[in-house]
């Protein structure tokens, strides 16, 4: 064994490397706050491992991205767990890279001779944010689509070159297939390569300069002494000689920290998992776009800048933030590191932290403008399939489509689920002589189509509902050609409001709209009738 190790040592010099990296002494007082950087690296490793695995079941095209992520979460063993780890790992990375940055800021560890370590760290911080931004487009769900739409619009606000920048980002004028492929390539190829490069540099410098000692009160050096740099170094060597070795003391702290956050990460992955919203839908006017939590502060700040002043918030504020971070070691050059010697800077730091926290909380508490319409995923799936199979070539829906087969507007009332299922499995068996071809549909497809068809015409409202509308509402409201247009035309009400909202409105309009002129129907109609009417308006108003 010794021979083999000697052989290796002669060719790799590993004993020297071990001495320099593992057996090096570090100053006393390296406490738990010093583990934030290691935790960030740990998260990076988790992201790389889970990311590579996720890529094995991912297709970066708008046609398949959503389905592939859904498949990976539902049909691949451990897929959902790994996706949960990746999603919450991203959150963990943002949290800990920020904590690490704050630790270095408040302890002034960026000062001489560690300025370049700081620069590479700032670059890594923005890379983490970039990873987050490019990553959450990939599932191609509503959140992904709208967050990126907003992001691209924000880039457009940059003076002069904004339009070009936005198009480079999207790979064209529209958000689509090229954007997704671009984001994917950047997320899995470009950023990891750059991150590894900067991380390597960052870690090399950490070892080269040694871990910075905790700031000391009554630091005698002022930066005016001609030999202060030499004295700083000598002092650091003294502190180091008294301290523990990196292995195993510091590694133990780092491993324990990584272990604890890993337990939390597993907990989040199992408990919260990685939710998916509906498939990205550029025509949806009813969605409430909200960014990931780490962009909520930006989201909130944008509300305070109306009109042209928005450019200030979108371009100038971030630019100032980046500049201040990069220039920090030049702005604050004295060797004094204790917070009592840096009162103004520490105060500014706290203000910034509190500001970001405040705006994030405010952003998270923003009420949703649009009602959240709970959609049955099976119906959504059926609707998609209905389009993919081109059913409207033969059947009409809402007055559009072919006349070969019967119109499907009321099909949910006419046909029960068993009939529909048998019909989709083998149309000729159910209706001999029908022109409808057998599509050889898969069981899951039959199920989805049945769900969608049953939802058409309600299924949940009674045939009396149209009468109820005529008797009670049509003297003011119009609905698909019936009634007067004195009040709002309700023909498309189902696109904006869900049935529960409509029912609540019919019951007591002034509660939801104090300025409205509509009378309350609570008491005039029974609850069952109101719900029937609401379902009718909702289902038929889509």
């Amino acid at each position: 064994m010794k021979k083999i190790l000697d052989w290796l040592d002669e060719r790799t010099g590993w004993r020297k490397v071990k001495e320099v990296v593992l057996d090096r002494h570090v100053p006393q007082g390296i406490d738990w706050r010093y583990t934030f950087g290691s935790i960030t690296i740990f998260f990076f490793v988790v992201q790389v491992v889970t990311g590579i695995l996720l890529a094995m079941h991912y297709s970066p095209s708008p046609d398949h991205a959503y389905d592939s992520v859904k498949y990976l979460s539902s049909s691949v063993p451990m897929g959902n767990f790994l996706r949960g780890l990746h999603k919450w790992g991203a959150t963990g990375m943002v949290v800990f890279v920020s904590l690490h940055l704050l630790r270095v800021f408040f302890m002034a560890s960026y000062k001489y001779p560690r300025e370049v370590t700081w620069f590479t760290g700032v670059a890594l911080f923005f890379l983490v944010i970039g990873f987050g931004f490019t990553g959450y487009l990939l599932p191609w769900d509503q959140k992904a689509y709208w967050a990126t739409t907003v992001g691209a619009k924000m880039v457009e606000q940059v003076p002069f070159i904004g339009g070009a920048l936005s198009q480079i980002m999207k790979g064209g004028t529209d958000l689509g297939a090229i954007t997704l492929a671009r984001f994917y390539a950047i997320h899995v190829l470009v950023f990891p390569a750059i991150a590894l490069l900067f991380l390597g540099l960052h870690l090399f410098l950490v070892v080269w300069h040694g871990i910075s000692n905790p700031p000391e009160k009554n630091d005698p050096l002022t930066g005016q002494e001609p030999d202060w740099k030499q004295r700083l170094k000598t002092h650091y060597q003294e502190l180091k000689a008294k301290g523990p070795t990196f292995w195993p003391d510091i590694i133990f702290k780092d491993t324990t920290a990584a272990f604890l956050v890993f337990l939390a990460l597993i907990g989040m992955a199992l408990w919260k998992g990685a939710q998916m919203e509906d498939l990205a839908n550029p025509t949806d006017t009813n969605y409430n776009p909200r960014p990931e939590w780490y962009f909520l502060s930006v989201f909130q700040i944008l509300k305070y800048f109306p009109g042209k002043s928005e450019t200030f918030a979108i371009v100038l504020l971030p630019a100032i933030a980046v500049l201040v971070l990069v220039a920090l070691p030049f702005l604050d050059r004295s060797p004094k590191r204790h917070f009592k010697d840096r009162k103004w800077l520490v105060l500014a730091g706290w203000m910034s932290v509190l500001g970001v926290v405040f705006f994030t909380v405010q952003g998270a508490r923003t009420p949703l403008t649009n009602p959240v319409v709970e959609k049955d995923p099976l119906i959504t799936e059926g609707k998609r399939l209905f389009g993919d199979l081109h059913c409207v070539y033969c059947h009409s829906l809402n007055g559009q489509g072919g006349q070969v087969g019967p119109a499907l507007d009321q099909v949910g009332l006419r046909r029960n689920r068993d009939w529909l299922a048998a019909h989709f499995r083998n149309p000729k068996k159910v209706t001999p002589g029908t022109k409808m071809p057998n599509f050889n549909l898969l069981d899951s497809e039959v199920e989805a189509l049945v769900a969608y068809m049953s939802s058409l015409g309600g299924g949940t409202f009674t045939p009396q509902a149209p009468r109820l509308f005529e008797d009670n509402c049509s003297s003011c409201h119009k609905f698909h050609g019936v009634g007067e247009e004195i009040a709002t035309d309700l023909s498309h009400i189902g696109e904006a409001r869900d049935a529960a909202y409509i029912a609540a409105y019919i019951k007591n309009p002034t509660k939801l709209n104090p300025d409205g002129a509509m009378q309350a129907f609570d008491g005039q109609l029974t609850d069952a009738q109101i719900n029937d009417l609401a379902q009718y308006l909702y289902q038929q108003g889509k």
Partner: protein, 168 residues
């Protein structure tokens, strides 16, 4: 840095050191096990996931000719990972009085599509002249095995086929 010639074990207690190293190994091992284990399970799972049976309905059995192989074309709709694909394919069906056989349309030699020759009462492969009789047995030429048979079933008078992966 000038502190390179320091002895590798500091003045600290060797028992404490062993204790720390033990804890590091346990915690590191746990992380590796969970992350590596779930990742490996995910990656290797195709090995033990069975194939889904995709039956295709070919139509009423009554319509088939008796005692003569018939070529039946069909369109199979099946799931392929997260996609649903439709692939056209074909199969030879031989219906006799008490039996129904479905032949894989590929020659067992190198996978060419053969055809039925009514005069010679044989399946002829155009590539290397392989010949099979009605029962699918090799009559002449290079094919090493008789024709492959697919599983079939009849339900309510309708013929169902279970095409398997093509092997060339």
């Amino acid at each position: 840095m000038q502190e390179t010639n320091r002895p590798s074990s500091g003045p600290e207690n060797p028992r404490r050191r062993t204790f720390l190293v033990g804890l590091i190994s346990v915690m590191g091992g746990f992380i590796t096990l969970v992350l590596g284990g779930s990742g490996l399970f995910y990656f290797l799972s195709p090995a033990w996931r069975g194939k889904k049976e995709d039956w295709v309905e070919l139509g009423p059995v009554a319509n088939l000719k008796e005692d003569e192989p018939v070529k039946v074309d069909y369109l199979q709709r099946k799931s392929d990972g997260w996609e649903v694909i439709e692939s056209p394919d074909t199969v030879w069906i031989l219906k006799s009085k008490n039996d129904l056989v479905a032949y894989d349309p590929h020659c067992t030699h190198l996978g060419c599509h053969y055809r039925w020759d009514t005069d010679k009462e044989a399946f002829l492969c155009p590539c290397h002249g392989g010949t099979f009789n009605k029962q699918g047995e090799v009559v002449s030429g290079p094919p090493p095995r008789p024709l492959r048979r697919f599983t079939t079933k009849v339900e309510n008078g309708s013929l169902f086929l279970l095409p398997e992966d093509k092997k060339s």
